[in-house]
Amino acid sequence: MNTFLKLHRDDNVQVALRMAPKGSIIKAEGGPVGTLTEVAMAHKVADRAISEGEMVIKYGMPIGVATVDIAPGAHVHVHNIASRYTATHYREEDAGLTDA
């Protein structure tokens, strides 16, 4: 079975259905992409390059803005996207950032 789920055709991220080790393969429109790090269940990975300032799309809708250039296969989370409403409160040690 696929390790990643694309929730909407417009999305530029996919969601891990279980803990995915580094190098796990994501099926993407541009061809297969390997994850650059380990990714925890229900966390997100870019399935194509996302430029700084570009919207991150999940459920077909924007969930925040990329704060840096994000490479295909990179973990997309609190370290590289930002809310357009309120800053996200998180504890660094608990946020599941294996690549931060």
Binding site: L17, H43, P62, S83, D94, A95
Partner: protein, 404 residues
């Protein structure tokens, strides 16, 4: 989605023209002081479609009066027994008049005038037996998806809800709306961040303005109550922003255009997708808008919901009085732990055993089977949760229901 089974069944035709999927006798207490007596009456009819509803407050409240009137005339309800203590403020005469005018049998017992608890219980049991006989031959009428009002709620959510149960319910909603059903979603306090994309789905720009305004009202209301919108644990579970958290809840509304805004007890005027604005108007009073999941379920039933889709991750076990609840479990581990309380295992999406489409079809089929009479897990277990508390609302603005 492909057609998977016959989507017509025989419902219960009411004198007011509405069609129900159950033929329930509702026993309603009109103040907490009458709750025990009403409950004792209902207990004599376990497993026989006799349900307990009621309002605990002694002080009058227009919202509670409206909700009780809508529940007493709900299409799943065939007859109503009102149980009053006698000295409470609830307008029992008006409630009985509204129910009677809909063509339903209605009787009122006043404990203070009926000889007290034991005598009222005995009279109540006789009254329910009489009503059951009266509604046994209610005409059965053909019914289809376009006759249904379907509600959705999520509770006990976790990181799986937004990627399995909620999007699958959203796809089922798209099909229901396409087939002419009226579908209701709510929880405006968990739509914060979604207001602009939601407004873009409004059938009219004026409605879009109202959609944004009711989410802004929820944000203000919850900030006075001291709600935090994003906990550290959400990030641990993979959520990165408040928008993402809200969208996890929002996706259960699907992709259909939004036809209007309703408030609790307002009946959708035709098929389509409706947002229920559950947050009271005016200054903050009476406490939290909905103190638990069943308060929201009751409000959507008051707006005519025949059936409610309840998406849970952590694992809620509730059902409801009046209308069946279909429980959709988003988390595969929770499903295994609480299988007897669940109707649909959306956790199968996470484990790769089913697609979103497969589960959406399963949800749709479960709705039509339930409408045709099959019992949901919570119905079979005898669940009948009900809660109604104080609120206050202003009437709907003119832009909330375009074209009506």
């Amino acid at each position: 989605m492909p057609e998977t089974h016959a989507e017509t069944w025989l419902g219960y035709g009411r004198a007011d023209g509405r069609k129900g999927i159950r033929n329930t006798v509702a026993v309603a207490y009109l103040v907490e002081c009458a709750h025990f007596v009403a409950d004792e009456i209902v207990r004599r009819f376990r497993g026989q479609d006799v349900h307990l509803i009621g309002f605990p407050g002694c002080f009058p409240n227009d919202y509670a009066q409206k909700i009780m009137e809508r529940l007493g005339t709900h299409p799943n309800v065939g007859a109503v027994l009102l149980v009053s203590l006698g000295c409470e403020s609830f307008n029992r005469a008006k409630l009985a008049e509204v129910i009677g005018a809909s063509g339903r049998p209605v009787e009122t017992l006043v404990i203070q005038k009926s000889g007290g608890s034991a005598a009222t219980i005995a009279k109540g049991v006789s009254a329910v037996e009489r009503m059951k006989a009266q509604i046994a031959d209610v005409p059965r009428v053909p019914m289809g998806v376009s006759d249904l009002v379907v509600a959705t709620v999520c509770g006990g959510s976790d990181g799986t809800s937004g990627i399995s149960g909620n999007p699958a319910a959203g796809r089922a909603f798209d099909r229901l709306v396409g087939d002419g059903a009226a579908c209701i979603f709510e929880e405006t306090g968990e739509l914060i961040g979604c207001e602009h994309i939601m407004a873009d789905r409004a059938v009219m720009p004026e409605l879009g303005v109202e959609l944004k305004a009711c989410v802004e009202k929820a944000a203000r209301y919850y900030s006075v109550l001291g709600y935090g919108s994003f906990a550290a644990g959400n990030a641990t579970g993979g959520l990165s922003t408040i928008e993402e958290k809200s969208l996890g809840a929002y996706v259960k509304s699907g992709d259909a255009p939004i036809s209007g805004i309703i408030k609790p007890g307002d009946i959708p005027p035709r098929g389509g997708l409706y947002l229920m604005d559950v947050v009271p108007d005016g200054e903050v009073r009476f406490g939290f808008p909905n103190i638990s999941d069943n308060a929201e379920i009751v409000e959507m039933i008051a707006s005519g919901a025949h059936v409610t889709l309840f998406i849970t991750g952590r694992g809620s076990v509730v059902g409801s009085a009046i209308s069946p609840v279909i429980k959709i479990c988003a988390n595969p581990d929770t499903y295994r732990a609480l299988e007897g309380d669940m109707d649909i295992n959306a956790g199968a999406i996470i484990e790769g055993k089913s697609s979103l489409e497969d589960v959406a079809i399963e949800i749709f089929d479960q709705i039509t089977a339930t409408a045709a009479g099959a019992k949901t897990a919570s119905e079979a277990l005898g669940h009948q949760e009900f809660i109604l508390t104080y609120k206050s609302f202003d009437p709907l603005g003119p832009a909330c229901l375009p074209g009506v």
